[in-house]
Symmetry: C2
Subunit: 360 residues, 2 copies
């Protein structure tokens, strides 16, 4: 591969002048510039980042660690692929910054993060982003002092800068919207309770009910998540069957996520119940492949992954440039409710607090 000296020789100038042409950081004579550019084209010269980086002590690199890409099918994989939108958001926000993003993947195994971090440090990244597959607490190895890091979709005990979804608010907004549509018996098929999101969303559910003056009824809430193990469909079936047989059955079933909602569609169909005319269904995540493709399309809450990614990249850039904006706790990002045809409006949405016939 040609070097800057080859170019200099061909163009009949010094290496430093070639450098000036490359970086336009000092005036260069027109004729000289053209000669240099011709030589560069002739040789197909591309400057070496390694050499440049050594001298300038700036890598212009940002490291991104994620388990999202290769999420191996075997281990616990709660969400799926859409957390990639986080990566997309990061890229979008980084596009004009002159930074190059290096992406590495843990394959879903957090322990593999350590060697990846090491690789990044060897490359002297100026900042690091860690993206988790689903909202969780993480424990990452310490970085060399001075390298800023941003956590996305997760948080740690060391109060590292973190960007997480506002699960409480999301579920709250969805339930509040259901109430607005006239629903008062709201079934809730939850994710397994160890998940951070499950806890927060349940709080949002309860809070929305409380605000609407609806009593929290434990028979309408059930944990049906077996993380894809066999028997999940059975568990869901039984829970739904039980709820629908109640003297006071739910008019809508909120599902822990869209994937569960997809299952619920199938189960309800098999039971001979129509969606949404007999039972409404709502999800969570706005997993587009599912939510938009399902028939009827699914009402759900957006997990604002792209926005979180953008936010994370912006925070990192400001950290790198030395702004020390101190913040307490993780940054919460809320996503909107996507209202689609899987939920009936039991009464006109604008008539608030008016009881509809179908209610008890």
């Amino acid at each position: 591969m040609a070097t800057i000296y080859d170019v200099a020789r061909i163009a009949g100038v010094s290496a430093k002048t070639v450098s000036r042409v490359l970086n336009s950081d000092a005036p260069v004579g027109k004729g000289t510039r053209e000669a240099v550019e011709a030589a560069i084209a002739e040789l197909g010269f591309v400057p070496s980042n390694a050499a440049r980086m050594m001298r300038s002590q700036r890598s212009r690199l940002i490291g991104l660690i994620t388990g999202a890409i290769s999420m191996s099918p075997e281990p616990t994989q709660p969400a799926g692929l859409p957390e990639l939108f986080i990566v997309q958001g990061i890229q979008k926000a980084l596009a004009g910054s002159g930074m190059t993003l290096m992406i590495a993947d843990t394959g879903g195994v957090i322990e593999r993060a350590a060697p990846l971090i090491d690789t990044f440090v060897r490359h002297r990244v100026e900042g690091l982003i860690y993206v988790a597959e689903y909202h969780q607490r993480v424990k990452l190895p310490a970085l060399p002092a001075g390298t800023p890091m941003v956590l996305v979709n997760c948080f740690d005990d060391r109060s590292t800068v973190a960007i997480v979804p506002d699960d409480r608010r999301g579920q709250h907004d969805l339930v509040a919207r259901l109430v607005l549509a006239g629903h008062r018996r709201i079934g809730y098929l939850t994710l397994r309770t160890e998940m951070v999101a499950a806890q927060l969303r349940r709080e949002g559910y309860a809070q929305a009910l409380a605000e609407a003056g609806i009593a929290y009824d434990p028979v309408l809430v059930e944990n049906c998540d077996l993380e894809g193990r066999d028997g999940e469909t059975q568990l869901l079936w039984d829970a739904i069957d039980r709820m629908l047989r109640l003297s006071n059955p739910p008019s809508v079933l909120c599902c822990g996520n869209d994937k569960m909602a997809l299952r619920v569609y199938g189960i309800l169909r098999s039971m001979g119940r129509r969606v949404p005319s007999e039972v409404s269904v709502a999800g969570y995540d706005n997993h587009r492949v599912i939510a938009e493709t399902l028939y009827p399309p699914l009402t759900t809450v957006d997990l604002p992954y792209t926005a979180m990614g953008v936010r994370a990249a912006q925070r990192l850039i400001s950290l790198i440039s030395g702004e020390i904006r101190e913040e307490k706790g993780p940054t919460l990002v809320a996503g909107p409710v996507y209202w689609r045809e899987s939920v009936t409006e039991l009464r006109p949405a604008n008539v608030y607090q008016l009881k509809s016939v179908k209610e008890e």
Copy 2:
């Protein structure tokens, strides 16, 4: 950040000796080694890749360009996210090779590949992989001579090494299996015909019918893909409605992909047709979120993305190490049929060529 000279000073040895400890490429005295290791730990020293790369002229980097990660929702996005399994396969195959994978993303816009390739060349990657979002023909800017490249899920006119799915064989195998299950009227809702995969799959469909001695009936084949534009559901509905009203209706509907199958499930349900007892449904892609979660689970053909990724990485490694295994045309990788409950066995699978009652 500490340098090798800092370490040398603390340990009371020369820089070269520290280098020897780091690379274990020459014998070092036990005591010396320990002193160096202690100094490294004390300083938190991590060697700079840039410096190492400059001297050794080897980057140990492989560049991966994909549009799969950020596939912006707006433009034509035929598949979805699962082509990421290609990336997963590549990572798996590269894991033990000592190579570091740099991933860059075009955001689905092929034109953005050029600057990314440039960035990679600046980093002096030893090889490049380009992953397309769906099976297609591509035209990429030329690389500096000597940098090997492998195309995955796509191919070009310059006979660059390419790994593509065997769509013809996949569809053929599925249809052959349907025939084996006793189906003889096989509806086919195709992808839009400009797509490479659509053409190949239709050939596979026709070939399988021919082999079974079943006449190709054009009324059973219809293009229903509007790439997510409005009216798609309507189009599908009409096509299905028309086919099912035939005096000789299909007993199974093959869909262009799993996403279409998901729609078809909803439509059939709305029509009051049960899957699979009244109409069987099959997809293509083995898009797991859909195929495994749907109720009943979907019979489909696997797009062997992981295997393609592994294959691509292996080819690239062998190209880098200088093996010149010449091959004509793209490497085809076939995926298995996943037989699930969305298709009825009209007769025992082992009784071949025996007509079942339900057939005409």
